[in-house]
Protein backbone atom coordinates (compact mmCIF):
# COMPACT_ATOMS: atom_id res chain seq x y z
CA UNK A 1 0.00 0.00 0.00
CA UNK A 2 1.33 3.43 -0.84
CA UNK A 3 1.82 6.03 1.82
CA UNK A 4 -1.00 8.03 0.32
CA UNK A 5 -3.38 5.10 0.53
CA UNK A 6 -2.49 4.51 4.17
CA UNK A 7 -3.00 8.17 4.93
CA UNK A 8 -6.39 7.97 3.31
CA UNK A 9 -7.36 4.93 5.37
CA UNK A 10 -6.16 6.63 8.51
CA UNK A 11 -8.34 9.60 7.75
CA UNK A 12 -11.43 7.48 7.20
CA UNK A 13 -10.63 5.68 10.44
CA UNK A 14 -10.21 8.87 12.47
CA UNK A 15 -13.44 10.28 11.04
CA UNK A 16 -15.32 7.15 12.00
CA UNK A 17 -14.15 7.46 15.58
CA UNK A 18 -14.99 11.15 15.63
CA UNK A 19 -18.52 10.31 14.49
CA UNK A 20 -18.78 7.77 17.33
CA UNK A 21 -19.02 4.89 14.89
CA UNK A 22 -17.63 1.56 15.99
CA UNK A 23 -14.49 0.02 14.59
CA UNK A 24 -15.16 -3.64 13.81
CA UNK A 25 -12.64 -6.52 13.58
CA UNK A 26 -12.55 -6.57 9.77
CA UNK A 27 -12.18 -2.79 9.41
CA UNK A 28 -8.82 -1.33 8.64
CA UNK A 29 -7.10 0.03 11.75
CA UNK A 30 -3.68 1.49 12.47
CA UNK A 31 -1.22 -0.99 13.93
CA UNK A 32 -0.88 1.13 17.04
CA UNK A 33 -4.63 1.03 17.62
CA UNK A 34 -4.61 -2.75 17.34
CA UNK A 35 -1.65 -3.12 19.71
CA UNK A 36 -3.04 -0.69 22.27
CA UNK A 37 -6.34 -2.54 22.28
CA UNK A 38 -4.70 -5.92 22.64
CA UNK A 39 -2.75 -4.54 25.58
CA UNK A 40 -5.73 -2.98 27.31
CA UNK A 41 -8.34 -5.68 26.63
CA UNK A 42 -5.99 -8.49 27.58
CA UNK A 43 -4.93 -6.66 30.71
CA UNK A 44 -8.58 -6.36 31.55
CA UNK A 45 -9.24 -10.06 30.83
CA UNK A 46 -6.24 -11.11 32.91
CA UNK A 47 -7.51 -8.95 35.79
CA UNK A 48 -10.81 -10.82 35.74
CA UNK A 49 -9.06 -14.18 35.84
CA UNK A 50 -6.46 -13.30 38.46
CA UNK A 51 -9.22 -11.49 40.36
CA UNK A 52 -10.97 -14.81 40.85
CA UNK A 53 -8.18 -15.93 43.18
CA UNK A 54 -8.44 -13.57 46.18
CA UNK A 55 -12.21 -14.02 46.31
CA UNK A 56 -12.04 -17.73 45.53
CA UNK A 57 -9.96 -17.93 48.70
CA UNK A 58 -13.16 -17.51 50.75
CA UNK A 59 -15.65 -19.69 48.88
CA UNK A 60 -15.07 -22.79 50.97
CA UNK A 61 -15.21 -20.72 54.17
CA UNK A 62 -18.11 -18.39 53.43
CA UNK A 63 -20.15 -17.86 56.60
CA UNK A 64 -23.58 -18.87 55.32
CA UNK A 65 -25.02 -20.89 52.46
CA UNK A 66 -26.52 -17.76 50.96
CA UNK A 67 -23.14 -16.00 50.99
CA UNK A 68 -21.38 -19.06 49.64
CA UNK A 69 -23.71 -19.33 46.67
CA UNK A 70 -23.52 -15.59 45.99
CA UNK A 71 -19.72 -15.61 46.12
CA UNK A 72 -19.46 -18.64 43.85
CA UNK A 73 -21.77 -16.97 41.37
CA UNK A 74 -19.75 -13.78 41.54
CA UNK A 75 -16.44 -15.48 40.92
CA UNK A 76 -18.07 -17.38 38.09
CA UNK A 77 -19.23 -14.09 36.59
CA UNK A 78 -15.60 -12.99 36.59
CA UNK A 79 -14.62 -16.12 34.69
CA UNK A 80 -17.37 -15.23 32.23
CA UNK A 81 -16.04 -11.68 31.88
CA UNK A 82 -12.60 -13.12 31.25
CA UNK A 83 -14.06 -15.34 28.58
CA UNK A 84 -15.75 -12.59 26.61
CA UNK A 85 -12.88 -10.19 27.01
CA UNK A 86 -10.43 -12.80 25.72
CA UNK A 87 -12.80 -13.40 22.82
CA UNK A 88 -12.95 -9.67 22.10
CA UNK A 89 -9.17 -9.59 22.20
CA UNK A 90 -8.88 -12.57 19.85
CA UNK A 91 -10.78 -10.58 17.19
CA UNK A 92 -7.66 -8.42 16.98
CA UNK A 93 -5.65 -11.36 15.68
CA UNK A 94 -4.00 -12.83 18.74
CA UNK A 95 -4.65 -16.32 20.11
CA UNK A 96 -5.83 -17.15 23.61
CA UNK A 97 -2.71 -19.28 24.15
CA UNK A 98 -0.51 -16.33 23.30
CA UNK A 99 -2.47 -14.12 25.69
CA UNK A 100 -2.08 -16.64 28.50
CA UNK A 101 1.57 -16.93 27.70
CA UNK A 102 1.96 -13.17 28.07
CA UNK A 103 0.30 -13.35 31.47
CA UNK A 104 2.31 -16.32 32.69
CA UNK A 105 5.63 -14.86 31.63
CA UNK A 106 4.85 -11.51 33.25
CA UNK A 107 4.83 -9.68 29.90
CA UNK A 108 1.19 -8.67 30.34
CA UNK A 109 -0.03 -6.93 33.45
CA UNK A 110 -3.23 -7.28 35.45
CA UNK A 111 -4.79 -5.02 38.03
CA UNK A 112 -2.43 -4.71 40.98
CA UNK A 113 -5.24 -4.71 43.50
CA UNK A 114 -5.44 -8.50 43.26
CA UNK A 115 -1.96 -8.81 44.70
CA UNK A 116 -3.32 -8.02 48.14
CA UNK A 117 -4.42 -10.90 50.37
CA UNK A 118 -7.98 -11.57 51.51
CA UNK A 119 -7.45 -12.37 55.16
CA UNK A 120 -10.93 -12.03 56.64
CA UNK A 121 -14.49 -12.48 55.41
CA UNK A 122 -14.91 -8.70 55.46
CA UNK A 123 -12.34 -8.48 52.67
CA UNK A 124 -14.91 -10.09 50.40
CA UNK A 125 -17.29 -7.27 51.22
CA UNK A 126 -14.57 -4.66 50.77
CA UNK A 127 -13.56 -6.04 47.38
CA UNK A 128 -17.13 -5.94 46.13
CA UNK A 129 -17.78 -2.50 47.48
CA UNK A 130 -14.48 -0.74 46.77
CA UNK A 131 -12.67 -2.74 44.11
CA UNK A 132 -15.72 -3.39 41.97
CA UNK A 133 -16.84 0.15 42.70
CA UNK A 134 -13.57 1.54 41.35
CA UNK A 135 -13.70 -0.90 38.44
CA UNK A 136 -17.14 0.33 37.43
CA UNK A 137 -15.95 3.92 37.40
CA UNK A 138 -13.13 2.83 35.12
CA UNK A 139 -15.33 0.68 32.95
CA UNK A 140 -18.63 2.48 32.39
CA UNK A 141 -17.05 4.89 29.87
CA UNK A 142 -15.74 1.85 27.97
CA UNK A 143 -19.29 0.83 27.07
CA UNK A 144 -19.06 3.54 24.42
CA UNK A 145 -15.43 3.01 23.44
CA UNK A 146 -14.55 2.92 19.75
CA UNK A 147 -13.73 -0.78 19.31
CA UNK A 148 -17.05 -2.61 18.81
CA UNK A 149 -16.33 -6.02 20.38
CA UNK A 150 -14.80 -4.36 23.46
CA UNK A 151 -17.68 -1.91 23.88
CA UNK A 152 -20.25 -4.69 23.62
CA UNK A 153 -18.40 -6.91 26.09
CA UNK A 154 -18.21 -4.01 28.52
CA UNK A 155 -21.97 -3.40 28.48
CA UNK A 156 -22.49 -6.88 29.88
CA UNK A 157 -19.53 -6.66 32.26
CA UNK A 158 -20.74 -3.38 33.73
CA UNK A 159 -24.24 -4.68 34.42
CA UNK A 160 -22.83 -7.56 36.41
CA UNK A 161 -20.20 -5.45 38.15
CA UNK A 162 -22.77 -3.05 39.50
CA UNK A 163 -24.66 -6.01 40.95
CA UNK A 164 -21.41 -7.20 42.56
CA UNK A 165 -20.75 -3.78 43.97
CA UNK A 166 -24.15 -3.66 45.67
CA UNK A 167 -23.62 -7.17 46.97
CA UNK A 168 -20.25 -6.17 48.44
CA UNK A 169 -21.70 -3.09 50.06
CA UNK A 170 -24.47 -5.21 51.53
CA UNK A 171 -21.89 -7.56 53.10
CA UNK A 172 -20.14 -4.53 54.63
CA UNK A 173 -23.39 -3.06 55.85
CA UNK A 174 -24.37 -6.33 57.51
CA UNK A 175 -21.01 -6.46 59.28
CA UNK A 176 -21.12 -2.78 60.25
CA UNK A 177 -24.56 -3.32 61.80
CA UNK A 178 -23.48 -6.55 63.46
CA UNK A 179 -21.59 -7.33 66.66
CA UNK A 180 -18.56 -5.26 67.73
CA UNK A 181 -16.33 -8.03 66.39
CA UNK A 182 -18.01 -7.86 63.01
CA UNK A 183 -17.83 -4.09 62.89
CA UNK A 184 -14.15 -4.23 63.72
CA UNK A 185 -13.65 -6.76 60.94
CA UNK A 186 -15.37 -4.42 58.49
CA UNK A 187 -13.37 -1.37 59.60
CA UNK A 188 -10.12 -3.31 59.37
CA UNK A 189 -10.97 -4.38 55.82
CA UNK A 190 -11.78 -0.80 54.82
CA UNK A 191 -8.46 0.32 56.34
CA UNK A 192 -6.52 -2.17 54.28
CA UNK A 193 -8.43 -1.84 50.95
CA UNK A 194 -9.03 1.90 50.81
CA UNK A 195 -5.66 3.07 49.52
CA UNK A 196 -5.06 0.21 47.11
CA UNK A 197 -8.54 0.94 45.69
CA UNK A 198 -7.58 4.56 45.05
CA UNK A 199 -4.42 3.35 43.34
CA UNK A 200 -6.54 1.13 41.10
CA UNK A 201 -7.57 4.18 39.12
CA UNK A 202 -4.02 4.46 37.87
CA UNK A 203 -1.07 6.79 38.32
CA UNK A 204 -1.66 10.53 38.49
CA UNK A 205 -2.25 12.28 35.18
CA UNK A 206 1.28 13.65 35.19
CA UNK A 207 2.68 10.09 35.32
CA UNK A 208 0.19 8.39 33.03
CA UNK A 209 1.87 7.57 29.73
CA UNK A 210 -1.10 6.35 27.70
CA UNK A 211 -3.77 8.91 28.57
CA UNK A 212 -3.61 11.29 25.58
CA UNK A 213 -3.77 8.64 22.87
CA UNK A 214 -6.42 6.66 24.76
CA UNK A 215 -8.65 9.71 25.09
CA UNK A 216 -8.51 10.19 21.34
CA UNK A 217 -9.62 6.62 20.69
CA UNK A 218 -12.30 6.82 23.39
CA UNK A 219 -10.55 4.11 25.33
CA UNK A 220 -10.62 6.72 28.03
CA UNK A 221 -13.11 9.51 28.55
CA UNK A 222 -11.79 10.94 31.79
CA UNK A 223 -8.31 11.15 33.23
CA UNK A 224 -7.15 8.95 36.11
CA UNK A 225 -7.32 11.82 38.58
CA UNK A 226 -10.85 12.73 37.53
CA UNK A 227 -11.95 9.13 37.93
CA UNK A 228 -10.29 8.89 41.32
CA UNK A 229 -12.05 12.01 42.53
CA UNK A 230 -15.36 10.60 41.30
CA UNK A 231 -14.72 7.36 43.19
CA UNK A 232 -13.89 9.17 46.43
CA UNK A 233 -16.87 11.50 46.16
CA UNK A 234 -19.16 8.56 45.62
CA UNK A 235 -17.70 6.21 48.25
CA UNK A 236 -17.12 8.44 51.28
CA UNK A 237 -20.86 9.07 51.89
CA UNK A 238 -21.44 5.31 51.62
CA UNK A 239 -18.87 4.69 54.36
CA UNK A 240 -20.56 7.39 56.48
CA UNK A 241 -23.92 5.76 55.92
CA UNK A 242 -22.82 2.47 57.50
CA UNK A 243 -20.73 4.10 60.21
CA UNK A 244 -17.28 3.16 58.96
CA UNK A 245 -14.35 5.57 58.88
CA UNK A 246 -12.29 6.13 55.75
CA UNK A 247 -8.65 5.78 56.88
CA UNK A 248 -7.49 9.19 55.66
CA UNK A 249 -6.98 11.93 58.27
CA UNK A 250 -6.76 14.55 55.50
CA UNK A 251 -10.10 13.65 54.01
CA UNK A 252 -12.55 16.53 54.16
CA UNK A 253 -15.40 18.02 52.16
CA UNK A 254 -14.42 21.09 50.20
CA UNK A 255 -17.41 23.41 49.78
CA UNK A 256 -15.62 25.46 47.19
CA UNK A 257 -14.72 22.67 44.77
CA UNK A 258 -17.71 20.51 45.61
CA UNK A 259 -15.38 17.54 46.07
CA UNK A 260 -13.56 15.80 48.86
CA UNK A 261 -9.94 16.76 49.46
CA UNK A 262 -7.87 13.73 50.29
CA UNK A 263 -4.43 12.79 51.54
CA UNK A 264 -1.28 11.78 49.73
CA UNK A 265 -1.31 8.38 48.02
CA UNK A 266 1.75 6.21 48.67
CA UNK A 267 2.89 5.89 45.05
CA UNK A 268 5.98 4.03 46.13
CA UNK A 269 3.75 1.19 47.27
CA UNK A 270 1.82 1.36 43.99
CA UNK A 271 4.96 0.97 41.88
CA UNK A 272 6.32 -1.74 44.15
CA UNK A 273 3.21 -3.85 43.59
CA UNK A 274 3.04 -3.04 39.85
CA UNK A 275 6.64 -4.15 39.49
CA UNK A 276 5.79 -7.53 40.99
CA UNK A 277 6.72 -7.08 44.64
CA UNK A 278 3.30 -6.88 46.28
CA UNK A 279 2.22 -9.22 49.07
CA UNK A 280 0.73 -11.86 46.74
CA UNK A 281 2.18 -11.28 43.24
CA UNK A 282 4.11 -14.54 43.40
CA UNK A 283 1.18 -16.52 44.81
CA UNK A 284 -1.23 -15.24 42.17
CA UNK A 285 1.11 -16.02 39.31
CA UNK A 286 1.96 -19.45 40.74
CA UNK A 287 -1.73 -20.27 41.03
CA UNK A 288 -2.39 -19.29 37.41
CA UNK A 289 0.66 -21.06 36.00
CA UNK A 290 -0.09 -24.10 38.13
CA UNK A 291 -3.70 -24.33 36.91
CA UNK A 292 -2.51 -23.95 33.33
CA UNK A 293 0.28 -26.52 33.52
CA UNK A 294 -1.72 -29.04 35.48
CA UNK A 295 -4.57 -28.64 33.02
CA UNK A 296 -2.44 -29.29 29.96
CA UNK A 297 -3.14 -33.02 29.80
CA UNK A 298 -6.87 -32.29 30.07
CA UNK A 299 -6.82 -29.80 27.20
CA UNK A 300 -4.69 -32.20 25.13
CA UNK A 301 -7.18 -34.99 25.79
CA UNK A 302 -10.09 -32.82 24.67
CA UNK A 303 -8.26 -31.95 21.43
CA UNK A 304 -7.26 -35.56 20.76
CA UNK A 305 -10.80 -36.76 21.40
CA UNK A 306 -12.32 -34.12 19.15
CA UNK A 307 -9.92 -35.09 16.37
CA UNK A 308 -10.77 -38.78 16.76
CA UNK A 309 -14.47 -37.99 16.56
CA UNK A 310 -13.97 -35.91 13.46
CA UNK A 311 -11.89 -38.62 11.79
CA UNK A 312 -14.57 -41.12 12.63
CA UNK A 313 -17.24 -38.94 11.03
CA UNK A 314 -15.11 -38.54 7.92
CA UNK A 315 -14.59 -42.30 7.67
CA UNK A 316 -18.29 -42.90 8.03
CA UNK A 317 -19.04 -40.34 5.35
CA UNK A 318 -16.76 -42.20 2.91
Amino acid sequence: MSEKEIKNLEEIFEQKIARDEKIEPKDWMPEKYRKTHIRQISQHAHSEIVGMLPEGNWITRAPSLRRKVALLAKVQDEAGHGLYLYSACETLGISRDELYNQLHTGKAKYSSIFNYPTITWADIGAIGWLVDGAAIINQVPLCSTSYGPYARAMIRVCKEESFHQRQGFEIMMTLANGTPEQKEMAQDALNRWWWPSLMMLGPTDAESVHTAQSMKWKLKRKTNDELRQQFIDQTVPQADLIGLTVPDPDLKWNEETGHYDFGEIDWEEFWQVVKGHGPCNKERMNARVNAWEKGEWVRDAAMAYAKKQEDKKLREAI
Binding site: I49, M52, L53, G56, I59, T60, R61, A62, P63, S64, L65, R66, R67, K68, V69, L72, A73, V75, Q76, A79, G80, G82, L83, Y86, W121, I171, T174, L175, G178, T179, E181, Q182, A287, N290, A291, K294, G295, E296, W297, V298, R299, D300, A301, A302, M303, A304, Y305, K308
Partner: protein
Protein backbone atom coordinates in the same frame (compact mmCIF):
# COMPACT_ATOMS: atom_id res chain seq x y z
CA UNK B 1 -42.63 -42.51 60.89
CA UNK B 2 -41.57 -39.59 63.05
CA UNK B 3 -40.26 -36.24 61.95
CA UNK B 4 -36.81 -37.34 63.06
CA UNK B 5 -36.91 -40.25 60.59
CA UNK B 6 -37.68 -37.87 57.77
CA UNK B 7 -34.98 -35.43 58.87
CA UNK B 8 -32.35 -38.18 58.97
CA UNK B 9 -33.50 -39.39 55.59
CA UNK B 10 -33.12 -35.91 54.08
CA UNK B 11 -29.61 -35.62 55.53
CA UNK B 12 -28.74 -38.80 53.62
CA UNK B 13 -29.63 -37.03 50.37
CA UNK B 14 -28.84 -33.38 51.08
CA UNK B 15 -25.43 -33.90 52.67
CA UNK B 16 -24.23 -35.47 49.41
CA UNK B 17 -25.12 -32.26 47.61
CA UNK B 18 -23.47 -30.08 50.24
CA UNK B 19 -20.23 -32.01 50.45
CA UNK B 20 -19.83 -32.47 46.70
CA UNK B 21 -20.71 -28.79 46.22
CA UNK B 22 -18.01 -27.90 48.73
CA UNK B 23 -15.44 -30.06 46.95
CA UNK B 24 -16.28 -28.47 43.60
CA UNK B 25 -16.07 -25.01 45.20
CA UNK B 26 -12.45 -25.66 46.07
CA UNK B 27 -11.67 -25.72 42.34
CA UNK B 28 -13.24 -22.39 41.43
CA UNK B 29 -10.51 -20.37 39.70
CA UNK B 30 -8.15 -23.32 39.29
CA UNK B 31 -9.71 -25.31 36.45
CA UNK B 32 -7.80 -26.60 33.42
CA UNK B 33 -9.59 -24.08 31.21
CA UNK B 34 -12.01 -21.21 31.72
CA UNK B 35 -14.84 -23.24 30.20
CA UNK B 36 -14.39 -26.20 32.55
CA UNK B 37 -13.94 -23.83 35.46
CA UNK B 38 -17.29 -22.22 34.72
CA UNK B 39 -18.98 -25.60 34.26
CA UNK B 40 -17.59 -26.91 37.57
CA UNK B 41 -18.83 -23.82 39.36
CA UNK B 42 -22.23 -24.27 37.74
CA UNK B 43 -22.51 -27.74 39.16
CA UNK B 44 -21.40 -26.50 42.58
CA UNK B 45 -24.08 -23.81 42.41
CA UNK B 46 -26.77 -26.32 41.45
CA UNK B 47 -25.78 -28.67 44.25
CA UNK B 48 -25.64 -25.93 46.86
CA UNK B 49 -28.99 -24.63 45.67
CA UNK B 50 -30.48 -28.08 46.14
CA UNK B 51 -28.82 -28.30 49.55
CA UNK B 52 -30.51 -25.10 50.60
CA UNK B 53 -33.95 -26.37 49.57
CA UNK B 54 -33.49 -29.59 51.53
CA UNK B 55 -32.11 -27.85 54.62
CA UNK B 56 -34.81 -25.22 54.61
CA UNK B 57 -37.27 -28.03 54.63
CA UNK B 58 -35.41 -29.73 57.49
CA UNK B 59 -35.39 -26.45 59.41
CA UNK B 60 -39.16 -26.19 59.04
CA UNK B 61 -39.55 -29.77 60.28
CA UNK B 62 -37.27 -29.28 63.27
CA UNK B 63 -38.62 -25.87 64.29
CA UNK B 64 -36.92 -24.41 67.40
CA UNK B 65 -35.74 -21.46 65.32
CA UNK B 66 -33.22 -23.59 63.43
CA UNK B 67 -31.99 -22.29 60.10
CA UNK B 68 -30.45 -23.83 57.00
CA UNK B 69 -27.08 -22.57 58.23
CA UNK B 70 -27.35 -24.28 61.61
CA UNK B 71 -27.90 -27.48 59.71
CA UNK B 72 -25.14 -26.90 57.16
CA UNK B 73 -22.47 -25.64 59.51
CA UNK B 74 -23.12 -26.67 63.07
CA UNK B 75 -23.32 -30.43 63.11
CA UNK B 76 -20.47 -32.64 64.22
CA UNK B 77 -18.71 -34.85 61.73
CA UNK B 78 -20.63 -37.97 62.77
CA UNK B 79 -23.90 -36.20 62.05
CA UNK B 80 -23.16 -35.70 58.34
CA UNK B 81 -24.67 -38.58 56.40
CA UNK B 82 -23.12 -38.17 52.96
CA UNK B 83 -21.65 -41.17 51.16
CA UNK B 84 -17.87 -41.57 51.14
CA UNK B 85 -17.70 -41.04 47.38
CA UNK B 86 -18.59 -37.35 47.42
CA UNK B 87 -16.09 -36.39 50.09
CA UNK B 88 -13.10 -37.78 48.15
CA UNK B 89 -10.50 -35.07 47.48
CA UNK B 90 -9.78 -33.35 44.14
CA UNK B 91 -6.55 -35.20 43.47
CA UNK B 92 -6.55 -34.24 39.80
CA UNK B 93 -9.09 -33.46 37.10
CA UNK B 94 -9.49 -37.17 36.35
CA UNK B 95 -10.65 -37.71 39.94
CA UNK B 96 -12.97 -34.73 39.79
CA UNK B 97 -14.65 -36.08 36.67
CA UNK B 98 -14.73 -39.70 37.81
CA UNK B 99 -16.23 -38.75 41.18
CA UNK B 100 -18.77 -36.54 39.49
CA UNK B 101 -19.72 -39.17 36.94
CA UNK B 102 -20.04 -42.00 39.46
CA UNK B 103 -22.25 -39.78 41.59
CA UNK B 104 -24.28 -38.14 38.81
CA UNK B 105 -25.50 -41.44 37.41
CA UNK B 106 -26.78 -42.39 40.85
CA UNK B 107 -28.09 -38.92 41.62
CA UNK B 108 -30.25 -38.74 38.52
CA UNK B 109 -31.72 -42.20 39.10
CA UNK B 110 -32.47 -41.22 42.67
CA UNK B 111 -34.18 -37.94 41.81
CA UNK B 112 -36.23 -39.60 39.07
CA UNK B 113 -37.70 -41.83 41.77
CA UNK B 114 -37.86 -39.19 44.45
CA UNK B 115 -40.07 -36.96 42.30
CA UNK B 116 -42.78 -39.54 42.93
CA UNK B 117 -42.35 -39.42 46.71
CA UNK B 118 -45.45 -39.19 48.88
CA UNK B 119 -43.80 -36.21 50.49
CA UNK B 120 -44.74 -33.27 48.29
CA UNK B 121 -41.84 -31.05 49.28
CA UNK B 122 -39.25 -33.72 48.57
CA UNK B 123 -40.96 -34.56 45.30
CA UNK B 124 -40.87 -30.89 44.26
CA UNK B 125 -37.19 -30.48 45.15
CA UNK B 126 -36.37 -33.65 43.22
CA UNK B 127 -38.33 -32.55 40.20
CA UNK B 128 -36.47 -29.25 40.05
CA UNK B 129 -33.13 -31.02 40.53
CA UNK B 130 -33.65 -33.47 37.67
CA UNK B 131 -33.05 -30.84 35.03
CA UNK B 132 -29.82 -29.73 36.69
CA UNK B 133 -28.51 -33.20 37.39
CA UNK B 134 -29.29 -34.37 33.84
CA UNK B 135 -26.89 -31.68 32.70
CA UNK B 136 -24.30 -32.77 35.28
CA UNK B 137 -24.52 -36.34 34.06
CA UNK B 138 -24.14 -35.29 30.46
CA UNK B 139 -21.17 -33.09 31.32
CA UNK B 140 -19.35 -35.73 33.36
CA UNK B 141 -20.14 -38.54 30.89
CA UNK B 142 -18.79 -36.44 28.02
CA UNK B 143 -15.62 -35.78 29.95
CA UNK B 144 -15.22 -39.45 30.88
CA UNK B 145 -15.26 -40.14 27.15
CA UNK B 146 -12.88 -37.31 26.32
CA UNK B 147 -10.39 -38.36 28.95
CA UNK B 148 -10.81 -42.10 28.39
CA UNK B 149 -10.54 -41.88 24.62
CA UNK B 150 -8.29 -38.81 24.50
CA UNK B 151 -4.56 -39.30 24.95
CA UNK B 152 -2.64 -42.13 26.53
CA UNK B 153 -1.96 -39.97 29.56
CA UNK B 154 -5.57 -38.93 30.04
CA UNK B 155 -6.73 -42.52 29.60
CA UNK B 156 -4.34 -43.72 32.26
CA UNK B 157 -5.25 -40.88 34.64
CA UNK B 158 -9.00 -41.28 34.45
CA UNK B 159 -8.70 -45.07 34.64
CA UNK B 160 -6.66 -44.66 37.82
CA UNK B 161 -9.41 -42.47 39.27
CA UNK B 162 -12.20 -44.86 38.28
CA UNK B 163 -10.27 -47.79 39.77
CA UNK B 164 -9.68 -45.89 42.96
CA UNK B 165 -13.20 -44.57 43.40
CA UNK B 166 -14.98 -47.76 42.39
CA UNK B 167 -14.82 -49.08 45.96
CA UNK B 168 -17.16 -46.28 47.05
CA UNK B 169 -19.92 -47.04 44.54
CA UNK B 170 -21.53 -49.93 46.40
CA UNK B 171 -22.40 -47.73 49.37
CA UNK B 172 -24.78 -45.73 47.18
CA UNK B 173 -27.19 -48.68 47.29
CA UNK B 174 -27.10 -49.40 51.01
CA UNK B 175 -30.32 -48.97 52.94
CA UNK B 176 -29.95 -47.88 56.55
CA UNK B 177 -32.60 -48.92 59.02
CA UNK B 178 -33.97 -45.42 58.85
CA UNK B 179 -34.04 -45.49 55.04
CA UNK B 180 -36.22 -48.57 55.23
CA UNK B 181 -38.67 -46.97 57.63
CA UNK B 182 -39.02 -43.92 55.38
CA UNK B 183 -39.25 -46.03 52.22
CA UNK B 184 -42.04 -48.10 53.76
CA UNK B 185 -44.09 -44.92 54.05
CA UNK B 186 -43.72 -44.24 50.34
CA UNK B 187 -41.65 -41.16 51.13
CA UNK B 188 -38.13 -42.57 50.72
CA UNK B 189 -36.66 -44.53 47.85
CA UNK B 190 -35.44 -48.09 47.96
CA UNK B 191 -32.03 -47.40 46.45
CA UNK B 192 -31.28 -51.13 46.14
CA UNK B 193 -33.61 -51.06 43.17
CA UNK B 194 -31.38 -48.54 41.39
CA UNK B 195 -28.27 -50.70 41.47
CA UNK B 196 -28.80 -52.60 38.26
CA UNK B 197 -29.58 -49.54 36.15
CA UNK B 198 -26.67 -47.72 37.72
CA UNK B 199 -24.01 -50.25 36.84
CA UNK B 200 -25.48 -50.75 33.39
CA UNK B 201 -25.32 -47.02 32.57
CA UNK B 202 -21.88 -46.60 34.11
CA UNK B 203 -20.51 -49.57 32.19
CA UNK B 204 -21.91 -48.32 28.90
CA UNK B 205 -20.17 -44.98 29.28
CA UNK B 206 -16.91 -46.50 30.48
CA UNK B 207 -16.86 -48.91 27.56
CA UNK B 208 -17.53 -46.15 25.09
CA UNK B 209 -14.68 -44.28 26.71
CA UNK B 210 -12.43 -47.33 26.10
CA UNK B 211 -12.00 -47.70 29.87
CA UNK B 212 -11.94 -50.93 31.82
CA UNK B 213 -14.76 -51.59 34.26
CA UNK B 214 -13.05 -52.47 37.55
CA UNK B 215 -13.80 -55.77 39.17
CA UNK B 216 -13.25 -55.76 42.89
CA UNK B 217 -14.44 -57.83 45.81
CA UNK B 218 -14.30 -55.37 48.66
CA UNK B 219 -16.15 -52.10 48.92
CA UNK B 220 -16.02 -49.28 51.46
CA UNK B 221 -18.94 -47.96 53.43
CA UNK B 222 -19.64 -45.85 56.50
CA UNK B 223 -20.70 -42.43 55.28
CA UNK B 224 -24.37 -43.15 55.74
CA UNK B 225 -23.62 -43.94 59.40
CA UNK B 226 -21.54 -40.79 59.71
CA UNK B 227 -18.24 -42.66 59.71
CA UNK B 228 -16.20 -40.69 57.21
CA UNK B 229 -12.67 -40.73 55.86
CA UNK B 230 -9.85 -38.80 57.49
CA UNK B 231 -10.03 -35.91 55.03
CA UNK B 232 -13.65 -35.15 55.98
CA UNK B 233 -12.58 -33.32 59.14
CA UNK B 234 -10.48 -30.90 57.11
CA UNK B 235 -13.30 -30.27 54.69
CA UNK B 236 -15.55 -29.47 57.64
CA UNK B 237 -12.92 -27.21 59.24
CA UNK B 238 -13.10 -25.00 56.17
CA UNK B 239 -16.84 -25.27 55.82
CA UNK B 240 -17.57 -24.48 59.46
CA UNK B 241 -14.75 -22.04 60.14
CA UNK B 242 -16.76 -18.83 60.31
CA UNK B 243 -19.77 -20.23 62.14
CA UNK B 244 -17.52 -21.87 64.73
CA UNK B 245 -15.21 -18.90 65.20
CA UNK B 246 -17.99 -16.32 65.38
CA UNK B 247 -21.03 -18.08 66.81
CA UNK B 248 -24.54 -16.63 66.73
CA UNK B 249 -23.93 -13.84 64.29
CA UNK B 250 -25.77 -12.76 61.18
CA UNK B 251 -23.84 -12.58 57.92
Amino acid sequence: MKNENLVQYIYGIADNALILGQRLSELCGHGPSLETDIAGTNMALDLLGQTRSYYQYVASLVGEGKTEDDIAFLRTERQYKNVLLVEQPNRHFGYVIARQFLFDVFHLLLLQELQRSEDETLAAIAKKGIKEVSYHRRFSSDWIKRLGDGTEESHQKVQEAINDLWRFTDELFHMTENDMIVADEGVGIDVKQLREDYYRIVKEVLEEATLTVPEIKYFQKGGKQGIHGEHMGYLLSDLQYMQRTYPNMKW
